[in-house]
Symmetry: C2
Subunit: 340 residues, 2 copies
């Protein structure tokens, strides 16, 4: 725009020019039958003269629906929340809904402030996007609108939540290792105070048990969600079980650290030790040598599903509970036969 711009005409301007009430303008522009044809023409001429655009606000006032949904996030880093958010935005965009974005940055008071703003804006519904898969307090009680939780589930089972199925994701990683003939499988992951670390460990252990195998190294190796921990854990694991032939990692960062340290210790990946990561964080997973086989949580798809469910909830067809969405295995060089 240039330095000055025309003020957009409001419905009040149209009403004044046409000499009718705001309600009459709204009805006329929305094609309601209660307005006489002569009045409707006068309103239309006034609207045209003022270059008045069909106004979502006015339609919202009349219908009681704003066709706007709130997206409440708490993920200033954004690695997990952002794909969920984009998936939701995608679904809403297609449905001609608009998305009001609020980022609480993990702060409860800020979240309350944003919530009040969204309520004052009369959003038709709300998606709460978490920063981890740890259950979070419900905000749905006493709210006069439907709420869907994505990535972080609500603690209240009467709410609707969509989360990745991390137990099944980790099981798929182990089954893949079994398929390529590995038997001594270790698990290196993040801090156990994360639900994600606990779920993935549960998946690894249950899949091993089904195969009649026990975990290599005698225990889950829990540390940080970092490359540094992946390198340290590689030392520990390769010393504890020199016959180790596979590692399922709780994140791609851990896997990248493991692969790097294993190579420096002269272990070939995947020939000596096969490695599976978690997250399919492509910018990292495709850059390691070899690139990482990993579990993709389909976060954009999860966000889209949550948004579609919010439409259903707005129509009164909510399905309470925690919905676990499937993950998928992405096979790359860290487990694929080298071909020679």
């Amino acid at each position: 725009m240039s330095s000055q711009q025309p003020r957009a005409a409001t419905i009040t301007d149209v009403a004044a020019l046409a000499g009718v009430s705001i309600a009459t303008v709204s009805k006329a522009l929305n094609g309601r039958a209660q307005v006489r044809e002569e009045t409707r023409q006068r309103v239309l001429r006034a609207a045209e003269k003022l270059a008045f655009q069909p106004n979502a606000l006015a339609r919202g006032l009349i219908s009681g629906q704003t066709r706007t949904v709130g997206l409440l996030t708490s993920d200033s880093v954004g690695r997990f929340g952002i794909p969920v958010l984009l998936g939701a935005e995608d679904a809403f965009g297609a449905g001609e809904m608009s998305v009001l974005l609020c980022d609480a940055r993990g702060d409860a008071i800020r979240e309350q402030h944003h919530l009040r703003t969204l309520l004052a804006r009369r959003v038709d519904g709300l998606i709460v996007v978490g920063q981890s898969t740890d259950p979070r307090p419900s905000i749905s009680r006493d709210l006069p609108l439907p709420v869907v939780y994505a990535y972080a589930p609500s603690e209240d089972p009467r709410d609707v939540s969509f989360v990745p199925d991390d137990v099944e994701g980790a099981r798929a990683a182990v089954r893949h290792m079994l398929t390529i003939g590995r038997r001594r499988i270790a698990h290196i992951t993040g801090p156990t105070h994360y639900q994600a670390a606990r779920d993935r460990a549960e998946g690894v252990l249950s899949a091993l048990e089904e195969a009649g195998l026990s975990l290599s190294c005698g225990q889950v190796l829990s540390g940080e969600w970092s490359q540094r921990w992946g390198r340290q854990a590689a030392e520990i694991a390769l010393r504890t079980d020199p016959e180790l032939d596979a590692v399922v990692c709780g994140s791609d960062q851990i896997a990248a650290g493991f692969v790097e340290a294993a190579r420096e210790r002269g272990r070939r990946v995947p020939d000596d030790v096969a490695v599976v990561g978690y997250d399919n964080w492509e910018v990292l997973a495709t850059e390691t040598r070899p690139p990482l086989t990993t579990i993709d949580m389909n976060l954009e798809s999860l966000g889209r599903t949550a948004a579609q469910h919010l439409f259903a909830a707005i129509d009164g067809r909510a399905t309470p509970g925690v919905h676990r969405m499937p993950c998928r295995l992405i096979i790359r060089g860290s487990t694929a036969p080298s071909g020679d």
Copy 2:
């Protein structure tokens, strides 16, 4: 929320119960003087009876301002756009504005669709967040509202754009190398069809020229924005100029690849070769061995500044042109003296 929820009362309901027009309800609730006290009391009683909440929509209709701004992004990967977006959201949140988020995903038709939606919603202003620093077509012509461009500048100099000062950022990297006594400085960067690659190369060359030095390896080494290219370029650079003592990289990914390959070739970082990255992508920059000295583009601050400028523009105080925002040098182990 549980399975059913009460429909929120609309201004129409209040008007019907109080027996007045919608405009009168709005005026009464906004404390305008044109409403008789008796009428105002009747409206307030009706609003209270229906648990009608102060409604941002109704206020918007009356005032002509919606206190909503549109954020139009085109960054589905999100690494650069997201911090800008979060900074903007932060500034708007503090100012009690709400943010309508639209992600065009690099698609011009989708962008037009979103733009129409935002106009119909009568946003008070618009921030366009780009996915690279390459200039992008202006959307401001003929729009009846102020627009501010962030990260990707508008091609039209009459628009207001905020971009990182990449020339100066790269100059700061070179000056840092000179300060720690390095003289044979190479530059490894991304594809030259990116404005960012050209700006950073310009900064490197001008700072070297000022110091009376020429570029090591005889030319800028341009390739991909990837770790892989960083590794390949390390081989090329160390072969072309074995006396090389410093490398300024166009991204942290390139720097991470360089550091890794240099170590494998027995070069100590920083003792033999000092390395500076670009982006301060912390999750990568702090995980390399040693961690990367790098240039931070202050993207959240850039987003916040863009948002604050949009407030000024809404008040008719726009400052057209491309505003280059300062970057800052973050010093870590890849250039710091090792201490022994």
